[in-house]
């Protein structure tokens, strides 16, 4: 320990710590890269949209109400999204309430993970599972017609809404559950002491916690259903059941009418943009992705055996609803797996499936990585900046991909870069870029919480000790972020791996990705091959999640940071 004389040789050190300042410690390093990316995202989106409008002779806006087809498309899109939101919430609210009331039943954690699957399960695979259960030859359809005498057609609005509920009810329930779990324990104790009945428990405890997030959840589900593509493509069943996104695809791919596509894109942008503007204005977008922590301590509202039986029945039906299509994917896919890899008993592997797998991974892995890097930089920029305009720009950049149809964005950018976009490989680069953009809002939400979890006392300590820039990232953020980053990477990659939107427009039929191959097999009624491809895609996703989970776990004790943070809950993945 040094003496005063030694210290007074350097009365005011240029830096309070020995050696050079921490790498990347200037505030600009946290601000400008994220600002540049957010700005580039906004510019790319606007330029893409602008290029499409510029290239096309934009039809008269009055076409929207004069042209019967366009009128039908817009009104059907709104109607199916509205129905999907309504039914999703009608399922989600009771499920969230039951899960909150029953905090300790066996399999709860598995069910919660299962409910998160909807975020990454490729729509096209889920649709093949839904067809197996609810299609013409489906298990449920057979049961309904034999026992209930009911007839049912999956194709059209029925199937679209059913698939949307399959995807969005679990997501909504997970978010609402998180909201109810945020109720202060003291309130729960008071409610338990007073012995509130179901109705009053709902009025006094559950509704006040759900109410603030409900409009945001509704906006999220509405946007997801409004912009849904793969589900409507496969289950739409004709012009009467076409959404804006599918109409844009048809305009671009078959009718070569980019003016109509641009007009429809702008309708979508205005409706979704208005919705998100409303949501963001009221601060409703703050917790729109499920927190992955599972609350385990909770005061139970008194529940009678009869009530528990009712809860169990509803939960059982919900589990059946979720599991049956997944089970169908497994049952139908397994027998075809052998022949999918080794066709007609040959020992040489099926090049089509392997090529599609490699192509999918070649797009999905860079897309996931790009989404994660962009999200981190945008979040750092938003946190560092003191200017409201920059913070607003990062918010807009984060949610813009949810509003602009990826097909429109892709086409616009294709037109913009056309002179230099020649080969199909360059088209795939564009697909990668757009997939990364599409994954960005979800990845961003996943990383937002953990990145902001450093408390103010720790930040002050770090400031004083000069733990800045790279050092702060290495020693304070990285231990908290390792697992969420791996998870975000898995989700980003998974979303891109299952993409059947942009690739449908830019991919060439001879060079399919796995979802495109699956669509081609479904289209040519090679159901066994389609089932095997679907199962292979799901297995690939599971492998991907396991690998990233391993990468997110500390491998061995190194140097000083010997243990995982105990105070920082590390999320597990599905």
């Amino acid at each position: 320990m040094s003496s005063l004389a030694e210290r007074q040789q350097h009365p005011l050190p240029s830096h309070s710590t020995p050696g050079r300042p921490a790498p990347f410690s200037r505030p600009g390093w946290q601000l400008w890269p994220g600002f540049a990316i957010a700005g580039a995202l906004v510019l790319l989106s606007l330029a893409g949209l602008g290029a499409l409008v510029w290239e096309a002779s934009l039809p008269d806006i009055s076409q929207l109400w004069q042209n019967r087809y366009l009128r039908t498309v817009v009104s059907f899109t709104i109607w199916q999204a509205f129905l999907s939101v309504l039914l999703s919430l009608l399922v989600a609210i009771p499920i969230a309430r039951i899960l909150a009331r029953q905090p300790a039943f066996r399999g709860r954690a598995v069910l919660l993970r299962l409910m998160e699957l909807s975020l990454v399960l490729p729509s096209i695979v889920a649709v093949s599972g839904l067809v197996s259960v609810y299609g013409r030859q489906g298990w449920f359809t057979g049961f309904a017609s034999d026992w209930l005498g009911a007839s049912w057609n999956l194709y059209g609005i029925n199937g679209i809404v059913l698939a949307h509920v399959f995807f969005n009810a679990p997501l909504a329930a997970r978010i609402l559950l998180q909201a109810t779990e945020g109720t202060p324990p003291s309130q729960l104790r008071v409610a338990a002491q007073l012995g509130l009945g179901r109705w009053w428990y709902w009025r006094a405890v559950e509704w006040p916690s759900i109410k603030p997030v409900l409009p945001g959840v509704a906006a999220l589900v509405f946007t997801l259903c409004f912009t849904s593509f793969a589900i409507v493509m496969t289950l739409g069943g004709g012009p009467a059941a076409t959404t804006i996104e599918v109409a844009i695809y048809q305009s671009l791919r078959f009718e070569f009418d980019s003016g109509q596509a641009a007009l429809l894109a702008m309708v979508q942008l205005i409706i979704c943009g208005f919705l998100w503007w409303l949501a963001a204005r009221r601060g409703l977008t703050a917790s729109l992705l499920p927190d992955r922590r599972v609350a385990s301590h909770r005061t139970k509202a008194g529940s009678s055996p009869r009530a528990r039986l009712a809860d169990g029945t509803i939960l059982g039906l919900f589990v059946l609803f979720l599991v049956m299509p997944l089970f169908a994917i497994l049952i139908r896919g397994l027998p075809g797996m052998g022949s999918a890899f080794f066709p007609q008993g040959s020992f040489s592997a099926n090049p089509a499936l392997l090529d599609a797998t490699m192509r999918s991974l070649a797009i999905a892995l860079p897309a996931g990585l790009m989404a994660v890097c962009a999200a981190l930089l945008i979040l750092a920029c938003g946190a560092t900046s003191k200017r409201p305009a920059i913070t607003r720009l990062t918010d807009v950049a984060a949610y813009l991909p949810l509003m602009i149809p990826p097909l429109v964005l892709g086409t616009g950018l294709f037109l913009l870069f056309r002179p230099s976009l020649g080969s199909s490989n360059e088209g795939l680069v564009l697909v990668t870029l757009i997939n990364a953009m599409m994954a960005l809002p979800f990845v961003l939400q996943m990383l937002k919480g953990p990145l902001g979890s450093l408390d103010s006392a720790s930040r002050q300590q770090a400031d004083q000790l000069g733990i800045l820039g790279w050092y702060r990232w290495r020693w304070l953020h990285w231990p908290r972020m390792r697992k969420p980053l791996a998870l975000a990477m898995a989700y980003g990659t998974g979303l891109s791996l299952g993409d059947f939107g942009v690739i449908a427009l830019f991919g060439t039929p001879g060079q399919p990705t796995l979802p495109v191959l699956l669509y081609q097999q479904l289209g040519s009624y090679r159901m066994d091959a389609a089932a095997a491809t679907g199962l292979w895609l799901v297995l690939l996703l599971l492998v991907l999640f396991s690998v990233f989970n391993q990468l997110g776990s500390p491998l061995h004790k190194t140097g000083f940071a010997t243990k995982s943070p105990r105070s920082v809950p590390e999320p597990e993945h599905a």
Binding site: S16, Q460, L465, I467, P479, F560
Partner: protein
């Protein structure tokens, strides 16, 4: 010499601002005391650079610190609690005080080991802060502050809530630091702490 000259600060909803004005020599301890809400912690945060004063100045050896970031000020703070990074071992917590990137030489590591021994925590280096008692955590925080070798120590109720053995040990550590020329600004409710450690009292 540390001079606090007409340092004025008020929170947005505060009617009358605080005004701090005092001088301390190296090797001395000034004890700041006053009722809750009298501005003790605010003064500490102003000195450390966590808060920006509305006017006035802080001078160290006649050089203004007013526009220096916390990491450029010749000071180390120890608060009543929340001094340690919970996910890092005791060694790492102390090591970060020596080098913010934990690039430690074997001499640094020896200093940490020796320091831990001197505060009665020999063999605790690999433990996490959550495994330590309140007194042990404060000893680690103080050891880090000492090994950081800054000429000014800002102590905000560092001994509050500790048992008498831990208090005695930490008081002795602080007296040793004073003897070596460290300037201490101590915010404390405790009269005995002030009597033993302080050379002057600044009442708020």
């Amino acid at each position: 010499m540390l001079e606090v000259r007409n340092l004025v600060f008020a929170y947005p909803d505060q009617e009358s601002p605080w005004n701090f004005d005092f001088t301390v020599e190296p090797g001395q301890c000034i004890a700041v005391h006053g009722a809750s809400g009298s501005g003790k912690s605010t003064l500490m945060n102003l000195l450390a650079g966590f808060l920006e004063p509305q006017s006035g100045d802080i001078l160290w050896q006649n050089m203004s610190l007013r526009h220096h970031a916390p990491w450029h000020r010749p000071m180390t703070s120890v608060f009543q609690e929340h001094n340690l990074f919970e996910h890092l071992s005791v060694d790492a917590n102390i090591g970060l005080g020596i080098h913010p990137g934990l690039k430690l030489t074997s001499r640094d590591q020896q200093a940490i080991d020796k320091g831990l021994q001197s505060v009665g925590l020999d063999g605790f280096g690999k433990r996490l802060p959550g495994d330590l008692s309140g007194g042990q955590r404060q000893r680690v925080a103080l050891l880090r502050a000492i090994l950081r070798q800054q000429p000014v120590l800002l102590l905000d109720e560092p001994l509050t809530g500790l048992d008498s053995d831990a208090r005695d040990l930490l008081r002795q550590l602080l007296l040793d630091q004073k003897a070596q020329g460290t300037l201490i600004v101590l915010a404390s409710h405790d009269e005995e702490d002030r009597r033993i450690l302080a050379d002057s009292i600044y009442k708020l």
